[in-house]
Amino acid sequence: MKLGTVVSYILKAVIVIFFLSAIWQNDWIIAFGCFAGIMFTILLPIVLKLKFNITMPWILDLMITVAFFIHICGDVLYVYDTIPSYDNITHFVSACVVALVVLIAVYILSEYWGGLQADKYGTAFVVIITTMAMGVVWEFREWSADAIFGMQTQLSLEDTMTDLLVNALGGVFIAIVGIRLLKNGALKEMTQDLGERVDTHILNKKKP
């Protein structure tokens, strides 16, 4: 078993422990966060495996788990309050997750779909710009939530600009990693299962 997979399992176990302890302490906000984490990091891969026979690429699974883990840790251990820049770390990791999803999506489309063929630098470029655009969409969501429901998710211009910057950096980071993964064929190996599923079930469904 890969080291990444082992780490991912340990982090998932910790999230479950946090969930149980939050229920024990009647801390429903943290319990809800942990519950969302369990849904995405444990149930989602199981459903994908059983229902669609898709194995999630291990690196994506690990990144999603890490993203939820550090976010939940921030709440449970009050890190958000003690370390002011902790928010930037969670944003960075989330941006990496989005970038990784884009990387895998563009790669699979490029390999199996007739409508897109991009070389590795083109893919890296798309990863960066799409991640940046998703960051903007996220800020729009926060902005409209504040405007419509009177919430306070966007603290200030400073905060929002830092979010967008960190988001772009996450995109750049994964793009650089992505070029490496594309060069040494690791991405092909990781996404083989997923790619074939997508190919047979979605892209070429109509063809015999």
Partner: protein, 210 residues
Amino acid sequence: MTKSLCIIVSHIFRLAMVFLFVVAIAIDNLSWTLICLSGIIVSAVPIFLKRYLKVELPDVLDLLITLALFLHTGAVGVFDNIYHILPEFDLVTHFASSVVVAFIALIALYLLDEYWDGLHINRYAMAFAVVVITIACGVVWELGEWAIGKLWGIYFQVDLDDTMMDLLVDTIGATIMAVIGIYLIKNGTLKELTKGLGKLADTHLNKNKQ
């Protein structure tokens, strides 16, 4: 619009910028004068490209560039100094520039798709790419304004709402251009518009093969 009309209108915008440049000097507004000057210089770039480097930009693009520059340089001064409604007008300039950026992205992607082996992209994926590229450029722009504020204390960003509105207008401009782009590719107008550029791209991108 016919070919010659685009050229004529873009020359009118250039002249208007020169006129506002004179106005800016007359009312002794240094920053507006410099802004107008930079607008005039940048608007001359397509003419120089055509004359000395034989790069023929599509006439519509030429028009859009001069229009955006006119709004950004000359007209900004009018609305700032005479009507005092700069923040509202700023949205119009943002919209115009995002349309220009989206159009440039569209042309670049189209040319790469047509003449380069490294990229094959169908028109809907192209429209998506145009939108995300333009949004990303908007982010780079805002980050640039933010950085200038941090480094030199010149603050372009009014407040959070203003910045979010800028980004929203960028997104809307990009989406409109992407939809138009799909249409232009479908009926072959884009191919015709980029004929001059296409030849150039072909010789440069496929240099190694010949």
